[in-house]
């Protein structure tokens, strides 16, 4: 599928240590290595930042507190005080995706550009949301699929639509993150080949894509931040739907 110089070659998974568990290929790959690195870096960032915690935060502690307050406010605005117990979930999701996106931009393989990684995260989120909904409201949670106020004759149309839109959530949530990451990295890769191709044609022509690369890179840093934010905020919105049964 991806040849050596294709822009997709950067997403190739290489096995580092073979491991087969009951016929399932559970090998330790370069993607798993980067995931471990991301978790270690995020943990290190928070533990080291809060080690000498003072009332007036220093620079490092201020950075950690910025992320903490950012997610705490996000959760409060979207789910109210009832969502407070889900702070660890949202915070670790946000930090993991942010770390994976950013580390992918600086040379390592981007784990969030693999649909299985993002789908696993999104599936986990939807499973938790469904469990929370049923735990809070019991069988009454099923009324989520029948919006109140809609006329009775519309129900045969509304209920299947609501069920489909509920089931499509993990797909849209995961494909959004995955597609953003893949498209960004492919674009950088294609621009990189343009530099070589146009530069070989006529030397100065290669400068045009070369200048474009830092700009696209800056855009990709923004996208990396935004996508982690979007994933976190959508998780909050879905949680809010499950906690506060609006209809």
């Amino acid at each position: 599928m991806a040849e050596a110089h294709s822009p997709l070659a950067q997403f190739e998974i290489k096995t580092l240590a073979d491991l087969h568990l009951g016929g399932i290929d559970a090998s330790f790959t370069n993607a798993s290595l980067i995931m471990v690195v991301v978790v270690a870096l995020v943990t290190l960032f928070i533990v080291a930042g809060m080690r000498n915690a003072t009332i007036v935060p220093g620079r490092f502690q201020g950075m950690v507190e910025f992320f903490y307050e950012f997610i705490a406010n996000l959760l409060k605005e979207n789910t109210g005080s009832a969502g407070k117990q889900f702070f660890p979930l949202i915070f670790s999701l946000f930090m993991f995706i942010l770390g994976a996106n950013l580390i992918g931009l600086f040379g390592a393989i981007t784990v969030t550009s693999h649909i299985i990684v993002t789908f696993a995260l999104a599936f986990m989120v939807i499973t938790i949301v469904t469990i929370v909904g049923f735990a809070r409201h019991g069988a009454h949670y099923l009324s989520y699929f029948a919006p109140a106020g809609a006329p009775m004759w519309l129900m045969p149309l509304m209920i299947p639509l609501e069920i489909i839109s509920y089931l499509i959530r993990p797909i849209s949530l995961s494909v959004r993150l995955f597609a953003n990451m893949v498209a960004g990295h492919v674009m950088l890769g294609v621009l990189g080949t343009f530099v070589v191709g146009l530069g070989g044609l006529f030397f100065a022509l290669g400068a045009i894509p070369l200048v474009a690369i830092p700009m696209i890179f800056a855009l990709e840093v923004l996208v990396a931040l935004l996508q982690a934010y979007v994933f976190a905020i959508l998780t909050c919105i879905y949680l809010n739907d499950a906690i506060h049964l609006a209809h």
């Binding site: 599928m1 959004r176 995955f178 597609a179 953003n180 498209a183 934010y229």
Partner: protein, 74 residues
């Protein structure tokens, strides 16, 4: 038509999704500018939501990219 050629044409057509994303982004930032110019004091308050919408709109264009990739390599 050969399958290979049809695949290429299909992937090209899937890129049309970018048109919709372009319309959406233009609409979004146009409205943001209008809101910001009409009420400059609210500009700092209006900054976060367009960014969220930007990410959501951009994703719809990228779904087309995913379809193109599925057609080409799937």
């Amino acid at each position: 038509m050969e399958l290979e050629a049809a695949k290429m044409i299909g992937a090209g057509i899937a890129a049309l999704a970018l048109g919709g994303a372009g319309v959406g982004l233009g609409n979004l930032f146009g409205s943001y500018m209008q809101g910001a110019f009409r009420n400059p004091e609210a500009q700092s308050k209006l900054k976060v939501n367009p960014m969220l919408a930007f990410a959501l709109i951009e994703a719809t264009g990228l779904f087309g990219f995913v379809i193109a990739m599925i057609i080409l390599f799937g």
